[in-house]
Symmetry: D2
């Protein structure tokens, strides 16, 4: 259970950090989509390790291959399988945790649930799995491109450093111009320095990624339990290390009064729009045509380069050693993951919405 996401445009994820590789099956991709190999690889490159000194030093090209579902460069309606082989796995690095539970990792919980676990690099609970999601998300983006829908994300907070600007006051085309993936240069520099200093401390720090979905048609989302916001939240809360999701006014909105929070509706040159957008583009679970925006909270990465007290499988006191190759802060590499999952959700809901009315 639990390895499939989506209703119509549906992905099934598989793979482990230190097995043969990771991958994904995409079922329900409409036929006839040009599967631009370079574009998909470029999205994977945004997530891959070793991009800068503030990301993990594991070396993975994250090259992918199509195993099925593609014919003459196009989707055929058949399931698309993508394989991303592991190359730089150093499983020996993990012998020390074979029997020791690392604090705030999933070692103990997997062991409790299954009675067995692939301990090498976190096995199935590793963030390496998200490579497959990013590849699938790239295909979802190619689908959405045909509808004009755009899924973007950027780093809006690292530790205490919070970008107070709204996404509308930012130039999101600059997001990838720096290693942090914050489109505000000045803030990006501060964030970089903070992450780098944390790294030198052999420690880690959390952050926030903001997602933006623009040029969205009204009418997407399925009440009541498949509200678009619930689906987006579900997807984001599936990402490793995520502790929270908010959209529109979010947690800050609870402080407001209805008279300020309500988005007044107006007719702007023939299009019904809202003056403000505290709703975050979604009302009653359904899009109203305004931008969707949301925040995703990431805790500090659990692997730190410090020894920590813990216990082993038998319950004896033990030390979890600070070893391995890891990110001091996950948010720069989480940006393409947030984009990928939002694209997967949007592609799914665009297809679902095609069933709302009968087409004779």
């Amino acid at each position: 259970m639990g390895n499939t996401l989506g209703n119509i445009f549906k992905i099934t994820s598989f793979g482990e950090s230190h097995g043969a590789g990771v991958g994904v099956v995409i079922d329900g991709c409409p036929a006839g989509i040009d599967l631009d190999v370079n574009y998909i690889q470029s999205e994977l490159d945004r997530r891959k390790p070793g991009q800068s000194r503030i990301t993990t030093q594991r070396k993975e090209a994250d090259g992918f291959e199509f195993f099925s579902g593609v014919f003459e460069g196009k989707s055929t309606g058949a399931p698309i399988t993508i394989l991303i082989k592991n190359q730089d796995q150093k499983s020996k690095d993990y012998d020390h945790i074979k029997d020791i539970y690392r604090p705030s990792h999933a070692d103990f919980t997997y062991q409790e649930k299954y009675g067995i676990r692939d301990y090498r690099g976190g096995g199935r609970s590793s963030a390496r799995i998200t490579a497959g999601w990013v590849a699938a998300g790239a295909i979802a983006k190619l689908v959405l491109r045909q509808l004009g829908i755009n899924c973007q994300a950027y780093v809006s907070q690292v530790g205490d450093l919070k970008l107070e600007k709204s996404h509308q006051d930012l130039d999101l085309s600059k997001t990838d111009d720096n290693d942090v993936r914050c489109p505000d240069d000045r803030m990006a520099k501060q964030m970089f320095e903070l992450i780098d200093s944390v790294r030198k401390d052999r420690d880690t720090i959390g952050g926030v990624v903001t997602g933006i979905i623009s040029n969205v048609p009204a009418g997407l989302g399925e009440p009541l339990f498949d509200k678009l916001n619930a689906a987006l939240g579900h997807a984001m809360l599936s990402i490793n290390a995520v502790k929270g999701f908010e959209f529109g006014s979010g947690f800050e909105g609870v402080k407001m009064r209805g008279s300020e929070h309500n988005d007044i509706i107006e007719n702007k040159a023939g299009k019904i729009q809202t003056k403000t957008n505290h709703s975050g583009g979604i009302q009653g679970g359904i899009t109203n045509g305004e931008d969707i925006y949301f925040n995703v909270a990431f805790k500090p990465v659990a692997t730190i380069m410090q020894d920590q007290d813990s216990v082993d499988k038998e319950g004896n006191d033990a030390t979890a050693k600070g070893k391995g190759r890891h990110d001091p802060c996950v948010v720069p590499r989480a940006v393409p993951i947030v984009e990928a999952l939002s694209a997967l959700v949007m592609a799914d809901f665009c297809l679902l919405a095609q069933t709302n009315k009968l087409r004779g």
Copy 2:
């Protein structure tokens, strides 16, 4: 689409605010559960309107009837249908919004999606629908009672008034002692006064409900896309007016360093536990046996007793009148809803976990 929640313990919701009533079908409830009618009604009473002067004055007894699935007071494994008939609907009150979109309601989005809508009291998008969820949640609680699992919730914030205490420093048995459902008396009084003053201003205000799930066995939750936190978030984001969900350290956790955030594991008298619980009882999507705790952000109710600018169906300027009977702040009545949904998710995941290992 969208009216079903759950995998094994599964509810299908139906009904409208001003139709015959609301209800729910529960499929997958284990056989042989005593369906205590008084208990279910007492849960409905916690959600029903007209409880105090800070809730809507609509009068609904919210009495329920079993239409199916019960035999000699017990569940039989057949789907349990619960009907809650509407009694005090005043549909005439809604003639004024037949053709006018209320700001920050789902009027416009439903119209865009379906090309038709039951405008009376918000129709399907009304929070009245949650009565069925609460009834189903009461049955889920009866299931969980047999496993010793406890789902509780309380109001932890109204507007700027935020209860800074941890749930461990509160006596949750006092939650229902006041109309706000905040277990801290002093704070409850302040919150009550704030809500009442907002009500007198013919306005509304937001708030936060905190959920606590205690006495949880380790090993619940299905990686990767059915992480328990993702399922809880999904359910909570399905509640009307919810704008955010966080669990464990949540959005505050992003400011922390890994060395402080990590929950050190220790063996306490033969049970593997953690010293702190920033993880919120869930690691890698799976419970570790610690308390689950989470926050749910509710925006201010969209219906205010003030006139607002808007447009009608033809796109002409129009005024949305401040009429009807509504809550100045939704969180006191949201407490049983949050509990109900958390119980539904937990019952479902307890049953799902029964499939993780083969039982010969």
Copy 3:
């Protein structure tokens, strides 16, 4: 589990033979469908008991009410709930089977599965449940009417009496002209006499219902595991007393050679068609535009008016008495059920097919 059928146009069934009633929730019905109450009732009337002396003498008007999902006579996109209350339940009639397992009924298996059962009239395993399916199927037919698709069925065999004519050589408008629902008058009379003589013997007999779906567009059906034929078979095998399903050439087709069985493709006045139709309108799980036809085998009804040896719950020898009101042959009343389920499957797959291509 098990009370929901469909992917997009989805029904959830509930109710018992001798409880408050039976019913269904339809989720995913497109908005704006005229829900013709008279038509739905006329379909229920075709299934209801007491139609003639060869059907059960239980008296049920099978009147229905909409509990949700309808506004001003139209579907709104919200779940449609239909309730059909029981009126003529004589639960006392079933005291004799409270602890005794009737041969070839589901008494023993429900008891084994759930450890509890509503024994009155078969409880959840009663064919009375299909009333809700027929009501839902009537709505599916109203959807399909807009697409021009037609779902019909008729009795093609009772005991040894087998109608050898193809559906193309029959006038299906005559199906309801007789109590057997066989469109061939001569055969209908023989079948009636056979059923009536079996009834007088206090016995029962089996039969076959043939289903025909005509005016079907090409391209419906989802390979590999949601082939249209698999979905139809699944639905038909869900009907009480069904022991087999075949489509197109079916079991007879195994005797043929490829050179006779293959349906030669030709261009008839601009439309690609096949000369023969051994495929039954489905190739590779997907419709090719020819008529879909299939047979559904019904065993003789298990309740006979004769005493039978059996055991009680404790495993002691016991006699299952021949009591109650039942059909000597189920196929005349099964015709509207087969039609209803085929309509439900077709409506679902028409909506699903709307997701096969991206609509910009």
Copy 4:
């Protein structure tokens, strides 16, 4: 859509006849199952082409590799991915059908549905895809072995040659002793000769595979729409070339009277059993502990070594050439496929049944 089968033990199929290969992801396999590589390969060997002169001459070793989900030889609860690479694809052989629709193949229907198709060897609609199902089925069998449940199948009919013996009068251990996979030697020889003579005629012929599931506990199956018989029928009707499914008395049972068809219940040495088994081990969709038996009808293979009239994509008259490598009769190789699918269904329903009662 359509590439996933199962609820808890769930497979997602992928691959094409002439692409990189075929494969399957198994999600929901319980942790800790020994994944016996030799056994899985031996099952694949039973399905692979080129076994004898009455099967296709395509040469495929059908060697498989685990890509994920296996650790130290055991399942871990993570999704198990199996890849089976294509080796002997001769795509050139299919240039002649690039634009021509082969009679009774899925060429036309895929083209209509998707507007594009991988024509090489039938692409996604090829029976080669079932290799992945057989590998997954082998794992399901390993699961069932722990429960003592046994899934077997054999050829019971080829053309007019029908084995009239019941499965109880056969020694199923002899099924694989001959190339036809019929456990009755004399009949097997006749069948072989018939198939071989059809082959020499450059033609094909149909047949029936009988499935037997023995040592089944009572209580498996989920009423109403997930009856075990409906799930088995659904799975069998998903196999290429299948035109019918019947269980227990099947189509013959319609001729019987209730008094002969009913399975009298008796207490045999403390176990409640039935004297006869016309029910085929399933009553009301739930197992009663008797053997499950069913028949699956396969049409003659559509590819014949003869030219046939057809049309091309533009609707012009064309000739479909008799070329390629194919089976003159599919049933000998269908035996392991029927077994595999029945094992997949049974493993799924065994796990589902673990949720019927609450386990404290």
